[in-house]
Amino acid sequence: MPAARKPVSGSYRVADRGLDSTMRMLTNASGKEWFVGDAVDPNDLAPGDLDWLLEAGVIEKVGD
């Protein structure tokens, strides 16, 4: 049985990168979609996603 994933803390939202805001900016393996300004629960993302999404500026941290 795989070990339970440790919950990830922090508040994040989808950043406005100047792209067409009517389009989804992020989608996960389950098909959940996020648009510009939407809050993102990091626990909805796969392990490791948080790092590249922050690095790419797709999401931004807004609180601890």
């Binding site: 992020l26 996960n28 393996a29 993302l45 796969a46 590249w52 790419a56 797709v58």
Partner: protein, 247 residues
């Protein structure tokens, strides 16, 4: 990938699929200017590179179908730039070439044997050359009944030099389709890499859109919005550190 022939290709211009009216790609050329800078103290040539150029010349048959036939698409010789996408194969990930160019000729030839053909030349005009990338659409052209995503193309590794996407919006039945290219590190969580400004409405349309920075390992074509039966083609050229024209 393996060695391949030139069979089963596609060619789009300005959002029009004129693959069936184009009989030959006569030339797809990206010449690079060279300057001779050989010093007195050298016994062999020294050269440095100058500006690059791009030309695309193709031969077409005359098809007088209104709006979408080759004569309607090619004879107008618009003063504005045209965007072309040439697919060397129609399998997902096959090479494709995109260019933003000025159409400089529509030459009709009717020899004594009674045949009728035209030759068209496009010369790059946007400060870039021909961009070789990969086809992002299974079959080369596809129909999305509603918003969805194509299967991804796996480029083995991410890159950090941006890239350029090419969209050919051919048609749709109702509504307005939005087009985007998404990227991912793991093929499961997807972020929008670029969004095309083109609204996929009643008219055919084409667009080249660039992006800077990181492009992750997996890329895919995506449609968004409310529409039915959007027909389109899409390609993406991943930037490289040695690009003459960086993104």
């Amino acid at each position: 990938m393996a060695k391949q022939s030139g069979l089963g290709q596609k060619f789009f211009l300005g959002g029009y699929d004129i693959s069936g009216d184009v009989g030959a790609i006569n030339s797809l050329s990206t010449p690079v200017g060279m300057f001779n800078v050989t010093g007195l103290d050298k016994s062999a040539m020294e050269r440095i590179q100058g500006v690059t150029d791009a030309t695309l010349e193709f031969a077409a048959f005359v098809n007088t179908t209104a709006v979408t036939g080759s004569h309607a698409v090619l004879s107008s010789l618009p003063t504005t730039d045209r965007t072309a996408l040439y697919l060397l194969g129609t399998t997902l990930g096959d090479p494709c070439a995109g260019v933003v160019a000025t159409q400089v000729d529509y030459r009709v030839e009717r020899p004594a044997d009674g045949s009728l053909a035209v030759t068209v030349q496009l010369t790059s005009s946007g400060g870039g050359g021909i961009e070789w990338g990969k086809n992002l659409v299974a079959g080369g052209k596809t129909t999305h009944a509603s918003a969805t995503s194509e299967t991804s193309v796996d480029d083995s590794a991410g890159t950090s030099a941006g890239g350029a996407g090419y969209l050919m919006h051919v048609s749709r039945a109702t509504g307005t389709a939005g087009y985007a290219i998404e990227h991912s590190t793991n093929n499961s969580t997807w972020a929008t890499l670029l969004t095309f400004a083109t609204s996929g409405g009643a008219s055919a349309a084409a667009e080249r859109k660039t992006v800077t920075g990181t492009v992750n390992r997996y890329v895919r074509a995506t449609t968004t919005g409310t529409f039915t039966n959007a027909v389109f083609a899409m390609g993406f050229r991943r930037g490289d550190a040695t690009d003459r024209v960086p993104y």
